[in-house]
């Protein structure tokens, strides 16, 4: 007869080939994390914050005040010929504060803007000191620079988790709905192919992309921001693999029955948007009310993010994050089993 590949291997290979031959898909999996990292890199450059732009009304304010503002380094003054010009710049957000000296020193500002309040404090301090104010107890500043406790250190594992969820659910969901629309699924169901093999191959093919997408984010974080990886890389590997499988399973379940791309898209958003917000990607999930915590902690992305942070930032061992991994694995297994049961082949 003929040499025959194992169907699971053949299906996995097919899925990978399909993917690498789809330039758009490649872009979203590999270029997206790079773009995200670049944006972060810009936002978290290792330098003091930019001076806040403020305006002064020319003529009304003495040169001494303008010089004092410029010398403070905390605000960046620019001159406006008339009060009307200055107010216009304030309204359009070009400056955060407008300084005018009539019979008294006047600050024009929108108090609801945080940068306006900062500008007011900094500008006022500079002006008062220039006019001879002496601070009774001059403070010292102790800045936090310790690696591992900055916002970027908190954020990077979250981005990693977010990316694992996004590529898992989008990557698998759209390919399945497409195959259903084109009746490829129906044709496969008409062969002796085991249905579990088809779904399993979708999950397995994720491994290939995992190395790339996780590698890029981690490498960027370590190279550009010295984000620490305190735990072992092997443990981190186990966590990301489990996370990828979990969201691949959820992706299968999300698209188990959807007949159109629109329906699938809606379902995917329904699954993902709550986790973007609740699962501690950009800020700690501990900020949500206590009553909601049991639910939030049971979400797969919360568990994955907690496990990633525990390994990367606290150097925890596999045993120490067993609870989180159990939650992640349970979501994966249950989703896969349910998807297999309710999957629509035509």
């Amino acid at each position: 007869m003929s040499e025959r590949q194992h169907p699971l291997a053949a299906l996995t290979k097919t899925r990978i080939l399909e993917f690498v031959r789809e330039p758009e898909a490649l872009f979203w999996v590999f270029a997206f994390p790079i773009l995200m990292a670049l944006v972060l890199g810009f936002a978290f450059r290792d330098r003091p914050p930019d001076p806040v732009p403020v305006g002064v009304v020319e003529g009304s304010v003495s040169k001494e005040i303008t010089d004092a503002l410029a010398a403070s380094g905390k605000v960046k003054p620019s001159a406006y010929a008339t009060l009307a010009d200055g107010l216009e710049a304030l309204r359009t957000g070009k400056i955060a504060l407008l300084v005018e000296q009539t019979h008294a020193l006047t600050y024009h500002l929108d108090a609801t803007r945080p940068d306006a309040r900062i500008a007011r404090l900094e500008a006022d301090a500079a002006i008062q000191r220039a006019r001879g104010r002496l601070d009774p107890s001059p403070p010292q500043e102790a800045l936090i620079h310790e690696k591992g406790s900055r916002y970027i250190d908190f954020l990077l594992p979250g981005i990693l988790g977010l990316n694992l969820m996004g590529t898992g659910i989008w990557g698998i969901g759209f390919s399945i709905v497409n195959a259903r629309l084109k009746k490829t699924l129906k044709l496969m169901a008409a062969t002796p192919m085991r249905k579990s093999h088809y779904l399993l191959a979708q999950m397995l093919s994720r491994f290939v992309f995992l190395v790339g997408e996780v590698g890029i984010i981690l490498a960027f974080g370590v190279a550009a921001f010295q984000v620490p990886i305190r735990g072992s890389l092997a443990v981190l590997g186990v966590v990301t693999v489990l996370g990828a499988l979990c969201f691949a399973g959820l992706g299968l379940l999300t698209c188990a029955r959807a007949r159109t791309l629109e329906a699938a898209n809606g379902l995917m958003n329904l699954i993902m948007v709550p986790m973007w917000l609740l699962s501690g990607v950009f800020f700690s999930s501990a900020r949500f009310p206590k009553a909601a915590q049991p639910l939030i902690q049971a979400l797969p992305l919360t568990a994955l993010n907690n496990a990633l942070r525990a390994v990367m930032l606290e150097g925890r061992s596999l045993a120490a994050i067993g609870g989180e991994l159990a939650v992640v694995a349970a979501w994966g297994v249950v989703s896969f089993a349910l998807a297999l049961k309710i999957f629509r082949w035509q």
Binding site: M1, S2, Q5, A9, R21, L187, M188, T191, P192
Partner: protein, 306 residues
């Protein structure tokens, strides 16, 4: 008689639409059986029920002496299925596609053999997306043959193909049948049914309205010839009814179609009758009756309503 496929009392309703409405069918081992009917007659629903892809509302299906409920895996190994408008993954090559389908079967034909069977060797490394319609359809049939099946199901295998591709595919199907295998196909091309099929079932509104070999069905008209003509001025049905040797009559777009057992008898009689009526002949042609005429005779409608 050894039945490869048989079904009785098949019914499938979609809401108010009776797609299949009490259909009995028996396909013998080693024959090529065609379901002929217009679009929407219920052919695809029927073949997909037989393929085990759609559950019927009522009725029994037996394939190779087995039932879908109890022997699905075994049957899937032994059947080859090509769906209507199959869209294989465009990013894969011909070889990769065939390797994939081969991997699903315990026994089967390897990709090289399949490519040779369907003249696809030159397209071995071409992506499916770059193939012509005819090549794609041949690839779909090659996929259906990957398990070296005992029965091949083809749903409208040549719809939309150019005449040359159609001929090429007919040759391959005939070669498969010549190896003693069974074929069940659906078509709305009477020519396809006449060329390929040992027996044909004419399907309309979810029922079989006639069944038999193409020759028998045509012979059943008792009028193997069709006379087609038009006149100026038009002539009446009563007048034509009096002409000896003329069977069924029908009219479409000013054109008359008369069934006749003998042209030698009917044509001179028709000409004489037209002469008597003072009608001038505008056009006149004759052809051998086909399955199309059988269908029209049975339903009063044409097979293809494109």
């Amino acid at each position: 008689m050894n039945a490869a496929i048989s079904c009785t009392g098949l019914k499938k309703h979609y809401g108010d639409v009776k797609a299949v409405d009490g259909l009995d069918l028996e396909v013998r081992a080693g024959e090529c059986f065609g379901m002929l009917g217009p679009n929407g007659a219920g052919k695809t629903t029927t073949i997909e029920i037989l393929e085990g892809l759609t559950k019927p509302d009522a009725g029994e299906v037996t394939i190779l002496g087995r039932r879908w409920g109890s022997h699905e895996r075994e049957l899937r190994e032994r059947l080859g299925i090509s769906l209507q408008e199959t869209r294989l993954t465009e990013k894969l090559t011909v070889f990769e596609t065939l390797s994939l389908f081969r991997s699903f079967y315990v026994r089967g034909r390897n990709p090289e053999q399949l490519m040779a069977d369907l003249s696809l060797e030159e397209k071995r490394d071409a992506r499916v997306g770059k193939l012509s319609g005819g090549q794609r359809q041949r690839l779909a049939v090659a996929c259906a043959l990957a398990g070296d099946p005992e029965i091949l199901f083809l749903d409208e295998p040549t719809t939309g193909l150019d005449p040359q591709s159609r001929l090429q595919l007919w040759e391959r199907i005939a070669a498969y049948k010549a190896a003693g295998r069974t074929v069940l196909l659906t078509t709305h091309y009477m020519e396809e049914a006449e060329r390929l099929c040992d027996r044909v079932a004419v399907v309309d509104h979810g029922k079989i309205i006639a069944q038999g070999s193409p020759e028998d069905l045509i012979a059943g008209l008792h009028a193997p010839h069709i006379i087609e003509f038009s006149t100026d001025p038009a002539v009446s049905d009563e007048m034509l009814a009096k002409i000896p040797g003329v069977g069924e009559r029908r009219q479409r777009d000013g054109q008359w179609f008369l069934a006749a057992a003998s042209l030698a008898q009917a044509v001179p009689a028709l000409l004489a009758a037209l002469d008597d009526a003072g009608a001038k002949l505008v056009s006149l042609s004759t052809h051998q009756a086909t399955l199309e005429d059988v269908f029209i005779s049975l339903t009063g409608r044409e097979l293809r309503n494109e």
